[in-house]
């Protein structure tokens, strides 16, 4: 039983190392993908895509486009629903997705 357990723990160790390696690779691939100039230009959604993503028509959809490392703070709702945004790398764009 001891030897079986040793074998299993060793298998899991290898499995975990393999996952770590794949996660690192995937993060790098994703970063290269999103930083590619052509992909940056083609990485957009249309307003109607957003509309379709919210099935109920009585939803107001607000879009927030912020520079990297913008801090968003959401307060505990016991005294009101409050969201604050603070950017240190440039202006934040906030707009409503039109209904039609």
């Amino acid at each position: 039983r001891y030897q079986d357990l040793q074998k299993e723990v060793s298998d899991f160790t290898q499995a975990e190392e393999k996952l770590d390696e794949l996660i690192t690779k995937c993060n790098l691939q994703l970063r290269l993908l999103t930083e590619d100039t052509q992909n940056k230009k083609l990485g957009y959604v249309m307003c109607q895509d957003l509309r379709k993503s919210f099935d109920s028509p009585d939803q107001l959809v607000m879009v927030i486009r912020a520079p990297p490392e913008t801090q968003m703070q959401v307060s505990e709702p016991s005294e009101g629903y409050q969201v604050s945004l603070k950017s240190t790398q440039g202006p934040i764009d906030v707009f409503l997705c039109p209904e039609d």
Partner: protein, 152 residues
């Protein structure tokens, strides 16, 4: 017996970490597939319409979405340099990131819910490196990769 007990504890800890890392890896694979699909869709659309869409109708990634009931009263304060915003709502709201919107648009081919058709599985596999294919197949079937390690 004590050493067996210690190994059993160690085994459970690793199993838990493997599960967490596997779902982290699956999320990254979903994001990669969704983004590539979105770029592909827009490329085809621009090629067929021979022009990019009007700038006012597109929302460039990255973005986040805040949605609330249309009757919600929103009190908004903005600093003059637009670097600080304060919103007060009188009702609940939800916040979603761009990847969640791409999933709702079907850009991740149903992999996140294990409802990927055979055709979409072919497309999904073509969008990731070979080393990740087994994870894509596992997601398409809604099966856990962990079973190949624990036999359960």
């Amino acid at each position: 017996a004590q050493e067996c007990q210690n190994l059993e504890v160690e085994k459970q800890k690793r199993l838990k970490r493997i599960r967490q890392k596997r779902s982290q890896l699956e999320e990254l694979i979903l994001q990669q597939i969704a983004f590539k699909n979105l770029v592909q869709r827009n490329k085809v659309s621009e090629t067929s319409s021979l022009a990019p869409p009007p700038s006012g109708s597109v929302i460039q990634l990255p973005f986040i979405i805040l949605n609330t009931d249309v009757r919600t009263v929103i009190d908004c304060s903005i600093s003059s340099d637009k670097c600080e915003y304060l919103f007060n709502f009188d009702n609940t709201f939800e916040i979603h990131d761009d990847i969640e919107i791409l999933k709702r648009m079907g850009m991740s081919l149903g992999l996140e819910s294990g409802k990927c058709t055979a055709d979409n599985l072919v497309v999904a596999k073509s969008l990731v490196p070979r080393s990740l294919e087994t994870y894509v197949i596992g997601m398409a079937r809604g099966t856990s990769q962990i079973s190949s390690f624990t036999g359960d």
